[in-house]
């Protein structure tokens, strides 16, 4: 009885700590979320829907879907390849490669956008070449896509590397020994065992791709209807004091964030279940 008391805090301390934690989360996380939706609907549903149906909003939405539609599959492909090489094989320089993959997380979004101006802009390293071929990269859609690929580059790889390392190589080796081809092994053994982590990596990568602001802001040149993604559209409306429309567009992005959180929670439950099932079957063995 005495030991039990000495391993928990007195109820007054518990209550105080819980109150601090809950107030902090409500004040810093819940109130801003409520503010977004309440200001979006300030002038009623009609104004809300109109703000989203306006041509500039629609073109921003299309561009956001396009950039994410290119960046996410590219980084998915990369993430799977990188995780396969890193988790299943040993080679010199592996730790350096992992550090390199994490690098974009440590770079300010502003710098992530800026490097593409230095590379492809008019005064840039490849600027003359780009101009000679009549291409437009900076202040155009390709630049937005490049900057988005850069900032969302680590997400899938980072989810998959620890997961695939934990899975080990035995099941794949067994598949090979039993005569499966490389792709058969990959689709029938590897993919099913990593699917939840893969899904979560894609969800995170997509959320960041659609929501990226700093990097995209630098390379976009803010050409309305041409190079504005949804977050940039929000910025323009807000700076024009069109708050209701800005929050209406922002509410779409906030909704995306909520979907991301729900997906995360579901994936966590699923993988916990899978783990429990796995240990259960092992115990039965």
């Amino acid at each position: 009885m005495h030991a039990r008391r000495a391993t928990t805090e007195p109820w007054l301390v518990k209550l105080t700590l819980s109150a601090i934690a809950v107030s902090f989360v409500v004040l810093f996380l819940v109130v801003p979320l409520v503010a977004v939706f309440s200001q979006a609907l300030e002038k009623g549903w009609g104004a809300y829907v109109n703000a989203l149906r306006e041509p500039m909003a629609l073109s921003a939405l299309k561009l956001t879907l396009l950039t994410a539609g290119v960046a996410v599959p590219l980084n998915l492909l990369f993430g799977v390849a990188a995780a396969w090489a890193i988790a299943k094989f040993d080679f010199p320089g592996k730790n350096a490669l992992i550090t390199l993959i994490d690098l974009p997380f440590g770079v300010s979004p502003v710098i992530s956008g800026m490097v593409f101006i230095l590379l492809f802009g008019r005064q840039g390293l490849l600027g003359p070449w780009v101009e000679a071929h009549g291409l437009r990269i900076v202040f155009a859609v390709p630049g937005l896509i490049l900057a988005t690929v850069f900032v969302t580059f680590p997400f899938v790889a980072r989810e998959l590397i620890p997961l695939m390392q934990a899975e080990g190589t035995e099941e794949e080796e067994a598949a090979r020994v039993l005569g499966a081809s490389g792709w058969q092994m990959f689709w029938r053994v590897t993919v099913p065992s990593i699917k939840w982590g893969l899904l979560y990596g894609v969800v995170l990568c997509n959320a960041r791709a659609m929501g990226e602001f700093g990097a995209v802001s630098v390379v976009s040149g803010h050409i309305r209807g041409k190079t504005n993604t949804l977050p940039l559209h929000v910025e323009i409306l807000y700076n024009e004091y069109n708050f209701q429309a800005a929050f209406a567009a922002a509410s779409l992005l906030a909704f995306l964030a909520l979907v991301t959180l729900v997906a995360k929670t579901l994936v966590e439950w699923r993988s916990a279940e899978a783990r429990a099932l796995h240990t259960e079957t092992q115990n039965v063995d």
Partner: protein
């Protein structure tokens, strides 16, 4: 033995590694090295002048100070939130747990305008604070709040698994040896959590240093007063002062790399500590 076997049985190593290296070079290495190439072309005196101009130095001070304050706030509140999430059971705990990741998921521009409208002088929270004589929006305090918002998940998510895996027997042992609850916490629990806490703190700090989207709206962006370094880089770019922008960016990037390296060391220290448990 094992290594050789692995190489012979599993296919795709060459293809996967080749593609990975090509992709990393094209997407990360070449673009980032452009920054150093450009700043090397500045010459030392030009570089030094660009990075030590009074307006630039004022922005460093503001960015460092606000990031440090935000990381400290997160260090305290993040610890309390983690403790409550891991150790106590109450209704809504899972919801709170899921909400902690909200700043990771919410686009920074949305966070920026939401916080600005909340803390503006006519906002829900800004109006009562203004009456109490506290100005938040368009001051360094507002910048600190925005940076606290985006840094919160780092401390909680780094600390949480370590606290969950902390063996309760250690605390029971301390208690049965006659230690008071406070002594157990101070001598046993807190030292075990410290490396992870410091890692979370450093991650939140590093993220805050480069943050742009959530800050620009609430900052007010007055030169010498509320202008953060990332914004100054954008201002220089918009004035086509690529050399100046590059020089400041190089300093910022060097600072992040030093921090990343420190965090890397911290994480391996934290992992060793975890194994020793």
């Amino acid at each position: 033995m094992r290594l050789a076997k692995r190489h012979s049985v599993l296919p795709g190593f060459g293809l996967a590694l080749g593609f990975t290296l090509l992709y990393v070079s094209l997407v990360v290495l070449i673009p980032l090295s452009t920054l150093f190439w450009k700043s090397a072309s500045l010459g030392f005196s030009g570089f030094w002048q660009a990075v030590t101009a009074p307006r630039v130095v004022a922005s460093y001070k503001l960015t460092l100070g606000a990031s440090l304050a935000a990381a400290l706030l997160n260090g305290f509140f993040g610890f309390v939130v983690t403790w409550v999430l891991v150790r106590y059971r109450f209704p809504g705990r899972r919801l709170m747990d899921a909400l902690v990741d909200f700043p990771f998921a919410l686009p920074t521009a949305v966070a920026g305008i939401a916080l600005t409208s909340l803390y503006a002088p006519n906002g829900w929270l800004g109006a009562p604070l203004e009456k109490a004589g506290i100005k938040v929006a368009f001051t360094p305090l507002g910048i600190t709040l925005a940076l606290t918002f985006i840094g919160l998940p780092f401390v909680v998510r780094t600390l949480q698994p370590v606290l969950e895996n902390l063996d309760p027997e250690v605390e029971e042992a301390a208690a049965s040896l006659g230690a008071s609850r406070w002594q157990t916490l101070r001598r046993v629990v807190l030292p075990a959590l410290f490396p992870a806490w410091l890692t979370g703190f450093a991650l939140a700090f590093a993220r805050a240093l480069g943050e742009y989207g959530s800050v620009v709206f609430i900052a007010g962006n007055m030169p010498m007063k509320t202008e953060i370094t990332p914004l100054l880089i954008i201002t220089k770019l918009e004035q086509y002062d690529y050399a100046g922008a590059t020089a400041i960016a190089t300093v910022t990037l060097a600072a992040s790399f030093v921090l990343l390296f420190a965090i890397n060391r911290l994480q391996s220290w934290s992992a060793r500590q975890g194994q020793a448990e």
